[in-house]
Symmetry: C2
Subunit: 296 residues, 2 copies
């Protein structure tokens, strides 16, 4: 039996989290980052790895600096999802021998640009040839305070749901240029109790049910409230994916204060209330149009 | 200009360490692991990533569990090189859709076996398809005490050089089954002042000059003393590579005590004095037979 017959993603994901955690693991595979002891009381280490494979995640003719930016920005967006501060990165470049040197230099410029912007030090890595497509794999470590990390599992019935920025249409360019919401996420947990949070990488229609499931609750969404990117439909805002915006749940009583303080702090970035968490028995999908694969 | 025209390894390695370190970096790219602040006084974090690419580092018909073992054991050997304790791993599996499911399961069994043996928790990872060869990339984090880490740069004139185990002939099987010398390395730094250390991945002929260069000294080796694997020549012990044994420099006055205590502690593992560090002006290669590429 081949991987494609069983659904490769499922199999590979099944395999990954099987390993027995040792004593220092707070959160293993399954959330945006892994969370482990740092040795220092009050502080935890966050670990995340992410890869881009040519022909799967990007086309060969994509500008290499944008590929590099994205390769670094994706794991950093997972740090934002948990309100962590990234610090150090290991970069693995696997490139065929017939690739232009200028392509590799440009790729690396994009990686460095993202690393510099978020004060992440590239402290090492690995390089290899390949008889096939290029692969960029980046692992990032960093810190989060014991009392500030946010996973997907803390959402409560009655919480209101918010998203940052606008949704949909990412493939027109946003997916290569997005800015991880680290500053915004750090501000949120400094000033508010965020119950659950994640970054929207697979689209609201896939990611919101994940958050609700992890929290053991249902949800409802006011589709007409969704903040759409120009020219996007509600459908594409739900299904396109690669928004790399934050989705989070917060107590309804904090909602008004959150919105007004956010607007003063981040006047250029919309923050939108899109729905709420419900008791589990209400079906999640009532308010979404039927037919989206992710909502089956 | 293509990568192959400039020597891909050189270019890729040139690119990697360019990033500006932030304040928490103790050792960046260039040694066996990166060394960064852990947040806890007295303790540092070690970071290492390593990849195996099918068709470059292993043949497609290699037993998948051995590939998995090696993929995890290689970065762990770099922890041994710096006397660190590995704790957490992120595993990236990039596998084409037409690969047998059993191959993937076997690969993962090998990864897990090595992780369990060294009490490393696989806390996450990433999976992807690829239109090309399989790639396994593993990043490991762990700890080392401020006063116990060893890099390549601390060797001193007059130090004696030791290697663990036996050298040469690794491609007959050892390169897929080796056991990272973590216990041995931890014992060494608990009981002795080790001035410089590394693991032998590219062969003594390549790696010893690296250690000497990092330490700013020369070296001489007594070839007849080299501990050879069965059926191996001196030449192959110097040049084959993939021994994954420890090479270290220690003060001559500790040498006798080291040998007798080692024999009691690790009776099955040879420890051999192979030479010494010299003032730089003595040329390094005098005692090696000419003609090895690595000694040019």
């Amino acid at each position: 039996m081949k991987l494609r017959d069983v659904g490769e993603d499922q199999l590979l994901e099944q395999l990954l989290p099987k390993s027995e955690p040792n004593s220092g693991v707070v959160l293993g595979a399954g959330d945006d980052c892994a969370l482990v002891e740092s040795g220092k009381p009050g502080l935890l280490n966050l670990l995340k790895t992410d890869c881009l494979v040519e022909g799967i995640h990007f086309a060969k003719n994509t500008r290499a600096d944008l590929v590099g930016w994205k390769a670094m920005a994706r794991p950093l967006s997972d740090f934002a999802a948990m309100s962590g501060l990234p610090r150090f990165a290991l970069v693995t470049l696997i490139v065929p021998a017939d690739r232009e040197v200028s392509w590799v230099r440009q790729l690396y410029r994009g990686i460095e640009k993202a690393a510099r912007k978020f004060e992440v030090a590239v402290v090492g890595g690995e390089t290899s040839g390949i008889k096939g497509p290029a692969v960029i794999s980046i692992s990032v470590t960093g810190f989060v305070e014991n009392d500030r990390w946010v996973d997907r599992a803390g959402g409560k019935t009655g919480d209101e749901l918010f998203v940052t920025g606008r949704l949909g249409g990412s493939l027109r360019g946003h997916h290569l240029k997005f800015v991880p919401r680290i500053a915004e996420s750090r501000w949120l947990t400094e000033n508010f109790r965020i119950h659950a949070m994640m970054d929207l990488s697979d689209g609201l229609g896939t990611d919101l049910p994940r958050l609700a499931r992890a929290s053991g609750v249902g949800f409802e969404v006011d589709e007409t409230a969704l903040p759409l990117n120009r020219g996007c439909t509600i459908r594409s805002a739900i299904s396109d994916g690669e928004d790399y915006e934050l989705l989070f749940a917060i107590s309804a009583r904090d909602s008004r204060s959150l919105l007004s303080r956010w607007q003063r702090k981040f006047p250029k970035i919309p923050l939108t209330k899109i729905g709420r968490l419900n008791p589990k028995s209400k079906t999640q999908n009532r308010k979404f149009p039927g037919g989206y694969v992710h909502f089956k």
